[in-house]
């Protein structure tokens, strides 16, 4: 699913965020990306979302070299990728329902299918009863579940999460992680960046440890 070959990313000429990174993630894999602050976890996820391109090396997802995509191809690629952030990135002036439906809406999807799919994912994260609430009326865990519902609405082949439990207490973190495990169980490739070692121990999956932009452990 993901093939990185000698990927380097540097900011300001001298600061390597990633250095000569080579790794493979199989389709249907569940990968934890961990390492100390500044290790380059977020940078790798940004490259995978095609927000940025590597300065060196090639990064391929599903066989496509991300650096070579045209604007339109980037749009098409992103429609197949779901993302979740530490700070949820929900739109405060929209209800839960509108937040989730926002994605198909701005992708020009038709209403009936869009509605059915929105209810489906909300039910899946267990929040259909709060669909008319506004994000700020929800707890952190609930907000993150909404964000996950939004990430799933397009049936992505790849889900990327950057510190999805960073703002949540341990019990909620495990709950959210279980959601990701369920997503993964349906065949979706999942990459989660976290520095919560305890959580990784509890979930116990393929873990890639980064430090100073290099892989120090891959097991």
């Amino acid at each position: 699913m993901i093939e990185a070959h000698g990927v380097s990313k540097l900011y300001n000429r001298s600061v390597y965020a990633l250095r000569d990174l080579t790794l493979t993630v199989e389709k249907g894999d569940f990968v934890f990306l961990t390492g100390p602050s500044g290790a380059g976890k977020s940078t790798l996820l940004r490259l995978l979302l095609r927000e940025e391109v590597p300065n060196k090396g090639t990064l391929k997802v599903a066989g496509r070299d991300l650096a070579r995509l045209t604007t339109r191809q980037v749009q098409a690629y992103r429609r197949g990728v779901g993302f979740v952030f530490q700070d949820f990135k929900l739109i405060p002036r929209m209800t839960v329902l509108e937040n989730v439906a926002f994605v198909p809406r701005v992708l020009g999807a038709g209403s009936p299918q869009m509605q059915r799919r929105t209810f489906q994912v909300l039910k899946w994260v267990g929040l259909q009863h709060r669909m008319h609430a506004f994000p700020l009326e929800l707890s952190g865990g609930e907000q993150q579940r909404i964000a996950i519902a939004r990430a799933l609405i397009n049936d992505p082949v790849l889900v990327l999460a950057d510190e999805p439990t960073g703002n949540l207490d341990p019990d909620l973190s495990l709950e959210i992680m279980n959601l990701f495990r369920e997503i993964n169980a349906r065949g979706t490739t999942v990459v989660v960046a976290t520095h919560d070692r305890e959580l990784i121990r509890q979930v116990g999956r393929h873990t890639i440890t980064l430090a100073h932009g290099r892989i120090v452990e891959n097991e």
């Binding site: 749009q75 098409a76 992103r78 990135k89 739109i91 809406r105 701005v106 992708l107 020009g108």
Partner: protein, 296 residues
């Protein structure tokens, strides 16, 4: 179609959400277009009035009190010889002039009666042909008459009309220059107002980009928001101008009684009004587009 609908919904919602700022840019557009079209209306009406006046332009040839019969006939012959310029001529004796004065200014009739002698000169009142009245031929005729014995003065409306034509041209130039500057300011205002709306929705735009929304969905609403501001502004300007024209039509005649018929003051021709609305929308569209370019 769905994209258009989406852009329209978002644009109107955003207009309403930022109604304070939207009102500001709508007003700047309205003011810019009001000034532009206002001067154009004034110029058009002046030109129309000038055309009317030049059709009715008169040339007055004042005669000396001691003019001889022969000299008077000579003047008459000159006028008769210029029938390409002269539409009609009428001889007004000193007595006729006094009578006309008393008729036109009844309040002052008593004063005139008190005078020991009649101060009004005899004259030829000449109506010029419309097409010729502004031309050189009338000038030459006036010059020739001035040289003629027994003529003390020649007066005709051309200087007046020329001066008014100058005013009309000035109005037109002002419309374009001042209107142009204000339109430029309006573009800037729309740009900042739309940019403000855009900054308020950075998260939204970010998410749209990350889920792979087409560029039209990202920028469209902002371009349309500017366009709507422009359209509404132009509408307001036209409404205000129409109100102004109506006011001049109803109140104006009392102000300028007899001088000009203000009750027939004309509005912009429909095609120009439509053009103005389109122009307003274009102004807004440009502003919105400049702002939307910030949204990658």
């Amino acid at each position: 179609m769905r994209a258009l609908r989406y852009c329209f919904d978002e644009a109107t919602a955003s207009l309403w959400r930022g109604r304070g700022a939207s009102l500001l840019s709508i007003l700047t557009i309205a003011i810019a277009l009001f000034v532009l079209s206002g001067f154009l209306v004034v110029a058009a009406n002046l030109e129309r009035q000038i055309a009317q006046w030049s059709d009715a332009a008169e040339l007055s040839v004042y005669l000396a009190d001691d003019i001889s019969q022969d000299q008077r006939l000579a003047v008459d012959r000159i006028l008769a010889g210029h029938d390409s310029v002269v539409a009609a001529r009428e001889y007004l004796s000193k007595a006729d002039a006094l009578r006309r004065f008393k008729r036109d200014f009844p309040d002052l009739a008593g004063t005139a009666d008190g005078l020991s002698s009649n101060p009004f000169p005899a004259s030829f009142e000449v109506r010029l042909r419309g097409a010729q009245s502004g031309g050189d031929a009338a000038d030459r005729l006036a010059a020739e008459l001035r040289q003629t014995l027994g003529v003390v003065d020649v007066r005709y409306d051309r200087q007046w009309i020329q001066r008014l034509s100058g005013v009309a041209v000035f109005c037109r130039v002002t419309a374009y220059v001042l209107g142009g500057i204000l339109v430029g300011a309006a573009v800037l205002t729309v740009t900042s107002v739309v940019r403000l709306a855009l900054y308020g929705r950075q998260d939204e735009i970010k998410i749209m980009e990350l889920v792979g929304a087409p560029i039209g969905y990202i920028r469209g609403p902002f371009v349309l928001e500017g366009t709507l501001q422009g359209g509404i502004g132009a509408g307001l300007a036209l409404a205000a101008l129409w109100g102004g024209v109506l006011l001049v039509r109803t109140r104006g005649p009392q102000l300028l009684e007899g001088l000009a018929d203000l009750s027939t003051t004309t509005f912009l021709p429909p095609s120009l009004a439509a053009l103005l609305v389109a122009g307003g929308m274009l102004v807004g569209c440009v502003g919105g587009f400049i702002a939307a370019r910030t949204a990658r």
